[in-house]
């Protein structure tokens, strides 16, 4: 009896949590009149054409491509540079190691937004505004602390003998990194990759400040027109939001455990 009560209140809680999303997808399939008249009901006829219209109106094709380019490049850079740095910091002892490690950890305490103004000034002097690099480089830089942190913690637990055996076999350090450390660190790298993907794909603040050319707008930036511009065309707004939310929801459903574990580790950075 008590168990039943707990279970049903948990179920209701989950429903309430998910309701804004269900409402979003439901509204995306309605007409504007329906959106207004029956906000809780199912659509009378499902207006699939809303999605095509929304895709067109918001220039979502371009935005998707831009988001893909920026996200994937920043991901590759984060994983490669982060893993190399983590390997060196975790497995070698040299002068300045602890200071460099501390410097990276410190990065987790710095609020991203407080660097917007100086980064904007810096980039405008370097002529870097309105380029892919204006997003890729800061994304990578801000993700490096968490990448170094997660991967180094993982590599620190690997027995020393693995490397020594490879060295005796005549492998150099690049070989060890590529053939031993990268494969071994795969679970940690997967965590970093998922965290990075979500952060880069969803970023708004950097894109807002560093990009204003329509050809380079990323997905969240192109959506922000719906916060004002098309806000009265509810069906289109909801359809566009649904399309934009879908990729991350699919990734989440496929990689749930990694996403949750990663976020718990990444919560340190917040």
């Amino acid at each position: 009896m008590k168990q039943m009560l707990v279970s049903s209140s948990l179920g209701i809680y989950a429903l309430v949590t998910l309701y804004p999303l269900m409402w979003l997808f439901m509204s995306a399939l309605k007409t504007n009149a329906e959106f207004y008249a029956s906000p809780f009901g199912l659509p009378a006829t499902w207006q699939w054409s809303n999605f095509a219209r929304a895709w067109e109106v918001s220039g979502m094709g371009t935005a998707m491509v831009n988001s893909l380019i920026v996200t994937s490049t920043a991901l590759v850079l984060t994983l490669l540079l982060g893993a190399l740095a983590a390997y060196v910091l975790a497995r070698f002892s040299f002068r300045g190691r602890s200071i460099i490690h501390l410097l990276f950890v410190l990065g987790m305490l710095i609020p991203i937004h407080s660097t917007l103004v100086p980064l904007f000034i810096m980039m405008s002097k370097m002529g870097m505004l309105n380029t892919y690099a204006a997003l890729i480089l800061p994304y990578t830089a801000f993700e490096l602390p968490i990448a170094v942190f997660v991967v180094a913690a993982y590599l620190a637990n690997i027995p020393k003998e693995m490397e020594e055996a490879a060295l005796v076999d005549g492998s150099n350090y690049y070989g060890i990194f590529y053939r031993i450390m990268l494969p071994v660190a795969l679970p940690a790298l997967a965590t970093v990759a998922i965290l990075g993907f979500l952060r880069f794909w969803n970023d708004f603040a950097f894109a807002l400040v560093f990009i204003n050319s329509p050809a380079l707008k990323t997905l969240p930036l192109s959506l922000s027109v719906f916060a004002t511009g098309y806000a009265t065309d509810y069906k289109l707004t909801m359809a566009a939001l649904s399309l934009a939310a879908l990729p991350t929801i699919v990734i989440y459903i496929l990689f749930q455990e990694q996403v949750m574990k990663g976020m718990a580790a990444g919560a340190v950075k917040g």
């Binding site: 989950a14 390997y87 460099i100 407080s114 100086p118 980064l119 830089a141 939310a245």
Partner: protein, 291 residues
């Protein structure tokens, strides 16, 4: 064995790109904003050195302190909203049956959405004419409670705190679950034998054992409050009449709406100082309580 110089060159080559990128885009900007903070500068043309004027102006501007207060409201909403809800859910979802895992996934779901998507969804939920919330109130016969939720300065900030809480419960839930699972089961059994059940067990045994995790959660709430820029920008842009202004949006508007780059830089610097002070302060506070 390879030579020492070989090793040294490997270390240098591996570390330099990451370090360079990180220092250039994360560390250096902080010092630059401190430097620009001493200038009166519109972003174009001559920058004029004005000493501490920008910092003094910010610290004497009531809007700056209103933004600070709103950041504190976000902290309060997180500490007293997210932490207890996440803890309660963690206690109830400890066993991890398929049903419990489903609830866990549902609670975590908003985390993977862009804050722009979240902001626009909730703006539409709060919309005075077409919004879901007012429709709900009409449906259950509470029409007199209907409201223009985001344009009433006295409640706007609290209304924005709701999606913030909704959005970020997931990670705390996962953290608490991990902490609860690390409690050895013998301790649970011993508590049972001693007759410690329910609330008493929670307060006397469970809470002290996961205290470190709670500390981390509260520190995260505090530092996280300074990062809620996106949602504000999309939902209210700090209005009405600065009622929902946060330090980050205040900084953004001072710089990119009225083009006072020197002043915006000074505010950026103050945000870094405030967040470091708050993190240090909250950690010290927590340490004292454990003794």
């Amino acid at each position: 064995m390879r030579s020492w110089s070989h090793q040294r060159s490997f270390i240098a080559i591996s570390l330099t790109p990451a370090l360079l990128l990180y220092v250039l885009f994360v560390i250096v900007p902080i010092f630059w904003s401190a430097y620009y903070g001493f200038f009166d500068w519109k972003g174009l043309g001559e920058a004029r050195f004005i000493g501490l004027d920008n910092f003094v102006e910010a610290l004497t501007d009531p809007v700056f302190w209103l933004s600070f207060k709103n950041n504190m409201i976000v902290v309060a909403a997180s500490v007293f909203g997210q932490v207890p809800i996440a803890l309660l859910l963690a206690l109830l979802l400890k066993r991890g049956t398929w049903f419990q895992r489903f609830i866990r996934s549902a609670v975590f779901m908003p985390m993977v959405l862009s804050s722009v998507v979240i902001g626009i969804i909730w703006s539409n939920i709060y919309h005075p004419q077409t919004g879901l919330l007012n429709a709900l109130l009409t449906a259950v016969g509470l029409e007199e409670w209907k409201h223009a939720w985001l344009s009433d300065p006295s409640i706007a900030m609290w209304m924005i705190a709701i999606p913030l809480i909704w959005n970020y419960i997931g990670p705390y839930l996962i953290m608490f679950l991990a902490a609860l699972h690390s409690i050895p089961s013998e301790l649970d059994d011993a508590a049972q034998l001693d007759g410690a059940v329910g609330l008493r067990k929670l307060v006397q045994i469970t809470l002290p054992l996961i205290w470190d995790t709670l500390k981390v959660a509260i520190v995260l709430c505090i530092s996280g409050s300074l990062k809620a820029f996106d949602l504000i920008y999309v939902m209210t842009n700090g209005g009405p009449a600065h009622a929902t202004e946060l330090l980050a949006s205040y900084m953004y508007n001072s710089t990119f709406t009225v083009y006072r780059f020197g002043y915006g830089s000074a505010v950026s610097t103050l945000i870094v100082i405030i967040s470091l002070l708050m993190v240090a302060g909250s950690q010290r506070l927590m340490r004292k309580e454990t003794h």
